[in-house]
Symmetry: C2
Subunit: 152 residues, 2 copies
């Protein structure tokens, strides 16, 4: 039987199409997820606008921070607490990472200007481009470190 | 001019080869990095065999944990401290993430069996498949959480 033949000149276009559809769709979604989390953090933790931040949250917000109440209402309460007690608090995102449906932030958070603040790692889970779950770990930054290296 | 023709049956093999060389090389290195960090953690933190763990470390080990001394020697001291004071300590890796040259671990660490332990996020930087830098954040797990959800 004679094999079905293709013009070789078509190959680059075929390869590009196939690779794009199998390999780079996921990284594009991951990058979109990263941007969602960065916008959520800036709106919520820094501008302290819980409603603006909650636009990036999906149909639930499962909270694993041990001090925060669950759900979007718990997040609103936390932002109201920051506005009230620490209006000048600021969170600087030093690094962000993406893997699968998770976005991870390495953060230096200061509740009052001029204080050493806390080192925080936040982990967010996203579904359909929206945040649905949050874990974090928080540690006070000490005056000195054993190595002399900073925590960041 | 008659075009150069290829048998269409060759296409799947051609596509696989091209996609693998352009897109999945980086993910393969990331997955290798993840395995390096998992082996390092198991050998060091759980088997408490610093020499075995240090086989996964490169030409430096820049330490950002505020309580640990710098470099491979600092790591050896920390593992010797664990062997001596907390021989039954165990670190359970609940999740691992990779992005670029970083591997991130979400860990439940118990220094003594039956205690609540600490939530830890470790961030490792790798160069040429070896660990060269480490950051972490540690938080004691409280008895109760505001949401009722666990920290993990």
């Amino acid at each position: 039987m004679r094999p079905f033949l293709l013009p070789a000149a078509l190959l680059p276009a075929l390869l590009l199409t196939a690779c794009a559809s199998t390999a780079s769709q996921l990284p594009a979604q991951q990058e979109a997820n990263r941007q969602v989390v960065l916008q959520f953090y800036e709106a919520g933790l820094n501008r302290k606008d819980a409603d603006a931040a909650l636009k990036y949250v999906g149909n639930r917000y499962v909270q694993h921070n041990p001090n925060a109440a669950d759900g979007p209402e718990g997040f609103k309460q936390f932002i109201a607490f920051l506005r009230d007690k620490y209006p000048q608090s600021h969170s600087e995102i030093l690094n962000s990472f993406v893997d699968g449906d998770r976005v991870i932030l390495h953060v230096h958070a200061m509740r009052e200007p001029g204080t050493r603040g806390n080192a925080i790692v936040d982990i967010f889970k996203l579904e359909n481009g929206k945040i649905v779950e949050h874990w974090d770990v928080t540690q006070a930054i000490p005056e000195k470190t054993a190595s002399g290296n900073p925590m960041f």
